[in-house]
């Protein structure tokens, strides 16, 4: 086996349609060593599909005890991230890639950060847009945009994920159905939908927003929409960000990030999640960037370089905690607005 052995905690669509195909493009750097899922049959199927002799288990502790696992990818439901990432750090693994969000509360995130600091294990959050080569190139070339930016807009209009999952893999088993949305007239339900929208969808771009609006001073407006989505406006000092999302739609996707400064307009078009066909397309000041390497590959390549010690993490675990704090501030502010009877 060549490269680092990867242990995957959680064998659902994210593992099957994102990480396995992405890792398959880097055979010199990574190999799959172990697949864990609480569904034994699923773990065994996914492990068998990923190659010969790959271990499968239903307990993440067995995966962490497997000496063949150098690097752990945590792709389980959000509420398990803190426990599993912390345990991976304590197990002394060489690095952890945790799917976003890092955790569901700030306390959990701090617990992870403490474990990462104590163990020295790098923890990288799978915010693929932040690693996207086109985004990175635009960021390296945006001059004084971060100083002059006044308005940011993140717009996510996408069809059902199934369409893109189906183009990335043949799922071993259908994903678990989503729970019913509940009574949308109940402000608590609406606040819950908003929170799910922020931690499950907006979080793809909130680390990018934070690079331009460093704080969440106020949530000015928040509205969940059906079938799923939101419209949220936040203020950071004199700057404003406007976050919109709606899915599933019947049309072609549109996933954009725009920032306007005094003299520049940054425009980025991201591919939908699960699409592994290249980077985003980013434009600013008449220059444009796009590469064949997608954000998922870029985050794995970066993780490999961090493990080899050739680069420092692009985002420290403290950065990742700050990203989560930012997203939670939006979620809490949005919930407060709804529960105060904003509408």
């Amino acid at each position: 086996m060549t490269g680092f052995g990867v242990g995957l905690i959680g064998a659902g669509p994210v593992t099957q349609a994102i990480h396995l195909p992405a890792l398959a493009t880097m055979p010199e750097t990574f190999h799959i060593a172990h697949v864990m899922d609480v569904d034994q049959s699923l773990a065994e199927q996914v492990a068998a599909r990923a190659g010969d002799g790959i271990a499968a288990s239903i307990d993440y502790r067995r995966l962490l005890n497997d000496p063949a696992v150098d690097v752990v990818a945590v792709c389980s439901p959000h509420q398990f991230h803190a426990e599993q990432v912390t345990a991976a750090c304590e197990a002394g693994k060489r690095a952890v890639l945790c799917e976003k969000p890092l955790a569901t509360t700030l306390d959990e995130a701090e617990q992870i950060a403490d474990a990462a600091r104590r163990s020295g294990v790098p923890v990288i959050v799978g915010t693929m847009h932040a690693y996207d080569p086109a985004w990175q190139a635009a960021r390296d070339n945006w001059g004084d945009l971060a100083d002059t930016v006044s308005l940011v807009r993140s717009a996510i209009y996408i069809p059902p994920n199934d369409e893109f999952v189906g183009l990335s893999t043949e799922l071993a088993a259908p994903p678990a159905p989503l729970p019913p949305p509940g009574d949308f007239t109940d402000p608590r339900i609406r606040a819950g939908v908003l929170r799910a929208g922020i931690l499950g969808l907006a979080i793809h771009n909130t680390p990018l927003v934070r690079q331009l609006l460093p704080t969440v001073d106020q949530v000015l407006d928040a509205r969940p929409v059906t079938p799923f989505g939101y419209r949220i406006t936040i203020r950071s000092g004199p700057r404003t960000a406007h976050l919109l999302a709606l899915l599933p739609g019947q049309w072609s996707p549109r996933w954009t990030f725009d920032a306007w400064g005094a003299g520049d307009h940054l425009h980025v078009e991201f591919p939908p999640s699960y699409v592994l066909a290249g980077s985003a397309s980013a434009e600013i000041g008449g220059r444009r960037w796009a590469t064949p390497v997608n954000g998922y590959q870029a985050e794995w390549r970066h993780l490999a370089d961090v493990v080899k010690g050739t680069v420092a993490p692009l985002f420290s675990v403290d950065d990742s905690v700050a990203d989560l704090r930012y997203a939670l501030a939006i979620a809490d502010g949005a919930a407060d607005l709804l529960l105060e009877g904003q509408e």
């Binding site: 006044s150 308005l151 807009r153 717009a155 209009y157 000015l220 407006d221 509205r223 929409v225 059906t226 079938p227 989505g229 419209r231 406006t233 203020r235 004199p238 404003t240 406007h242 919109l244 709606l246 599933p248 739609g249 019947q250 049309w251 072609s252 549109r254 725009d258 306007w260 400064g261 005094a262 003299g263 520049d264 307009h265 000041g285």
Partner: protein
């Protein structure tokens, strides 16, 4: 039947100050020599004016001859908003038509698309629009034309609320039926004068881009649905020319009356909101 061209005079008192505002109208009129003829120092059928300054209405009233048929407001400053109601009264007394140059709302491609866009209106979740003004430009103007664009589709917006307004940008929220409306504007020297409009429903969505460089970069309007995307054929015609054609047809009684009745009433409401936002900044 040959119809004599309608005569047009510019509000000469402010020609120099507002030369840039008048320029595209002069170009549009020059492209319609069979319909309009510029006149100087004599009564005209149509007076073109920029409503600006505390004494604006007093100044233009003597310029409205007995034969005048219409006033076209090519621009508006917050200082003249309060005088619009008096102009509406004056116009009603004299039987004058009033028209407002509204930028993207006048765009011929947008006007042609409106019936189709309106067909999707009931299914929209979001109406989101953003416009950019030059660094030294007026966010008041930007919001005024943006409101005109959205209201040309939705009619008067409900629950308009200013979420933020600064010297460099604004964000407003409003409601149009079931759709949540967002209107954002910012100063930016890159692509200044550009307006983007997104209409988002789960069955269909629209994306329209209006450029200040019209007609060199014509308005692009695309509808997306389950079958794909359909972009409407570009029309290399600026909104000012389209505005003049509609005014001509309205005066000659050959138009389809695409303007809502009493265009000044809509302008007064929009200008009041835009002035409030500009004032808050």
């Amino acid at each position: 039947m040959t119809v004599n061209p309608l005569t047009v005079a510019f509000d000469t008192g402010e020609v120099t100050e507002h030369a840039a505002t008048y320029a595209p109208h002069r170009a549009a009129l020059a492209s319609l020599p069979g319909s309009f003829r510029l006149v100087h120092h004599q009564p005209a059928d149509i007076l073109v004016t920029v409503a600006s300054g505390a004494g604006w209405l007093d100044r233009i009233t003597p310029l409205l001859s007995a034969k005048a048929k219409a006033v076209l407001i090519a621009g508006l400053s917050p200082s003249a908003v309060a005088q619009l109601a008096a102009l509406a009264v004056l116009a009603a007394e004299r039987g004058l038509a009033t028209a407002v140059a509204s930028g993207p709302a006048d765009d011929a491609a947008w006007q042609a698309a409106l019936p189709d866009v309106a067909g999707d209106l009931g299914g929209l979740t979001f109406i989101d629009t953003i416009t950019t003004a030059p660094a030294d430009g007026s966010l008041f103007d930007a919001l005024l034309s943006q409101l005109a664009l959205v209201e040309s589709l939705t009619g008067p917006l409900e629950k308009a609320t200013t979420l933020t307004a600064t010297a460099t940008h604004y964000v407003l929220s409003a409601q149009a039926g079931s759709a949540a409306v967002s209107l954002s504007g910012t100063t930016c020297t890159a692509e200044s004068g550009r307006v983007e409009l997104d209409l988002i429903g789960t069955a269909a969505r629209w994306h329209a881009e209006f450029s200040a460089a019209i007609p060199a970069r014509p308005t692009a309007i695309t509808r997306y649905d389950i079958t794909g995307a359909q972009t409407r054929r570009p029309l290399f015609q600026g909104p000012q020319r389209a505005r003049w054609l509609r005014l001509r047809d309205d005066i000659n009684g050959t138009g389809t009356q695409t303007d809502p009745p009493g265009p000044l009433a809509g302008l007064i409401a929009r200008a009041g909101l835009a002035a409030e936002v500009a004032g808050a900044a």
